[in-house]
Symmetry: C2
Subunit: 435 residues, 2 copies
């Protein structure tokens, strides 16, 4: 029995020719896309009517901290250091696994609602996060964050936690969930931890998920400590490989960008968070493209965004670069949609399976409702992508499908209970932050 | 018979103390707010259950071109001049009144959907726009755009059109609709037209709605023409008064900002459009505040945004200024919400009647749904405003009320027919742009 997405007004395939198909359908069997265009439905197929809808590949969020939905709106408009040290860290020290589970369920609900089908996460209590995402049915790459304390106490404990989580993921037997190593950043992890992470990623054939060059303060500290430019330092110690997924990468020189290109480093760009925390500057994304660096998009954690809506991030990405370069052509809608789909898949090494609506790929698919006032009119085939990037937002998503399984249909959640999650999150917050 | 908004989780009053009320209600009679807080409902009152909702003043969009919803997504990622000359102007020359009516209905639908209750518009065929807005039930200030051709042909005709529209508005007898004079810009209108506009505004006791200093190209042209700085030129000819609502005002020097302050000029800030068209730079809004200039927010026309969602504009406003100044504290959420409500009301000289939830003010009110995943959790009273600016978007709006009349309740339009408008817009587009 298959699932047929029938008579989509448009299908934005994101195939190599970036074809947009009019009045086309998709048939899904065993979690994969089996037919695209004209479809032969079997009598037992489940059918979703896709008239007045556009079908796109599920969006890939390459950097977030899902459980931080708990801190959404808790403390805004602050300097990064003030925000972290006086607001976020004190809360994080009191987080329990169950709270992280509730936060991850809420984050999964929001991602499903807004068309994200796959994401890369780093946080604490990752077994609880994995449990929530397993329940939600999303695809994810999960990495427990590792931080070296100045006196190195806890380093061995964090390594053991990472290995324990790796085992936990293996035992879950959920093909949608995978593991990545998560050293937090070069300024919070010493070279031994970074190289341990590199070696584990090599052994497990996976990614190293790490924050690099998010703020100018970080780079200033590196120079003060006599370690020079951060990317050059990472290369010197042998850390930079094509397994590295570098989140942020704002404060890089052109030669560091080239170094990333030579080493095959991938980048997750999170402009909303960078702007909100006033990291300053704008990540050199066009230079990364020139250097052959795959660049995906991320929302970052919901406490510094304050959401998980990749449509919002797509629009902001296009706008911030146009504004920074005084050039409306520097980043067009197609390029931005590529970042949120195909390039996101390249960032996680899954471009053969994800990121486009093509026969044989996994069926991670999203329908956007074209009856909503903000998506009228659609002028012609060539403008559909522009409408998705500049006019749409995540709330226009009507249906979200991961690996062939509908998680939301006609804006109704199929697996998660929205009201229950809301109540339980409020109760978790009540325990975490007594009023 | 009154209308009671009962048991709102929160009311963001925007009163002088910026009070947030918990578990509070509002009673409306004769289009005005009669009670706030604890309410004595009469037995015949209509009641809207506002649990899990937050009540805010209706948002005020101080600059748009409503009928340009027709061109949404038609041509993006282009240089401003290329966009205008090769894409937009050729279409505009073929627009009919009926098309503008359909576009304005669609725009009204989107504004109602996303919580805008009052807006300032400039375009062509304004009688048709007025007809649509009258039907939609929104509050608006409407100005027919005036442009001097180089040979001055048509100038007299445009003046007559403006006067005819003024008469049309008087005859509509709709207290929600009012007239403003609309000379397009200093670079498209000669001094005679500008002063004619000033005098008419004085006579009619209304605003002059005009674009000033949107692009650096405009300023460069002024200097090339020997007219100097644009704001100084406008002052020299006697145009700058407290009736002027200056849209954009990006490329001003500090002394021009001070001049605006001295003359009482008001500013409409449209950051999304400025970023999308890569006008370059960022409007000097903090300097405007220092100079006492009221600054409201605008979306600009939907062809350069590509929407009318003031929540999107609020978030972008906060972020672009934080990013430009490398300072997350330069523009906080409360300040941004002020711009979208009270300062918008000041921009149109209606601060005594609009912009806050206070007894005696007109009942332009919006309910936002707190059950949506992206608005969970709300931490405490003090964070509600932050949640509205950073976490919410226009699709979270549940109910929109103008002058006491519900235009949308529980996301259902009360006056407009969404599907019919969609069909008719598509048909208008078919006539305007044969495929």
């Amino acid at each position: 029995m298959g699932l047929v997405l029938k008579d989509c007004d448009w299908i934005v395939t994101q195939d190599p020719q970036r074809r947009i198909l009019a009045n086309a359908s998709v048939r899904i069997t065993d979690g994969r896309i089996e037919q695209v265009g004209r479809v032969n439905a079997a009598s037992k197929d489940e059918v979703i009517d896709c008239r007045r809808k556009v079908l796109i590949p599920g969006l890939i969020n390459t950097h977030t901290h899902l459980s931080m939905t708990l801190f959404r709106g808790y403390a805004d408009d602050l300097e990064l250091r003030d925000w972290l040290e006086n607001k976020i860290w004190p809360l994080e020290s009191r987080l329990t696994g169950d709270m992280c589970y509730q936060g991850a369920l809420l984050g999964s609900l929001e991602m499903t609602r807004t068309g994200t089908t796959c994401f890369v996460d780093m946080y604490f209590h990752m077994e609880d996060v994995a449990r929530a995402v397993d329940e939600a049915g999303l695809r994810a790459i999960l990495s427990p964050g590792m931080i070296d304390k100045p006196d190195k106490t806890g380093t061995e404990h964090e390594r053991q936690s990472t290995l324990k989580f790796l085992e936990y993921i293996h035992e879950l037997h959920n093909p949608l969930l995978s593991f990545a190593v998560g050293p937090h950043a070069p300024y919070t992890c010493g070279p031994e931890t970074l190289l341990w992470a590199r070696d584990l990623a090599e052994k497990e054939d996976t990614l190293v998920n790490i924050h690099i060059a998010e703020t100018r303060g970080e780079q200033a500290q590196f120079e003060k400590d006599g370690k020079g430019r951060v990317a050059e330092y990472l290369d010197r110690i042998g850390f930079l490989t094509n397994r590295v997924l570098a989140a942020h990468a704002v404060w890089l020189t052109k030669s560091e960008v080239k170094l990333f290109g030579q080493k095959g480093v991938r980048v997750s760009h999170s402009p909303v968070s960078n702007m909100k925390l006033a990291s300053g500057g704008t990540a050199p994304v066009p230079e990364m493209w020139d250097a052959g660096v795959p660049v995906g998009l991320g929302t970052d954690g919901p406490a510094s965004n304050n959401g998980l809506d990749m449509f919002d991030t797509m629009k902001m990405t296009a706008l911030v670069h146009k504004n920074a370069r005084w050039d409306p052509t520097i980043m067009n809608a197609q390029r931005v949609l590529d970042m949120a789909t195909l390039d996101g898949a390249r960032c996680i090494g899954r471009e053969k399976e994800l990121g486009s609506v093509e026969i044989g790929k996994r069926a991670d698919l999203v329908l956007v409702d074209l009856r909503d006032p903000n998506l009228i009119p659609i002028h012609r085939k060539e403008t559909v992508v522009s409408d998705l990037v500049y006019s749409a937002n995540g709330q226009n998503v009507d249906t979200t499908i991961v690996d062939g399984r509908p998680l939301m249909v006609s804006r109704r959640f199929q697996k998660l209970d929205q009201d229950k999650i809301g109540e339980e999150v409020r109760s978790s917050i009540g325990q975490l932050i007594p009023q």
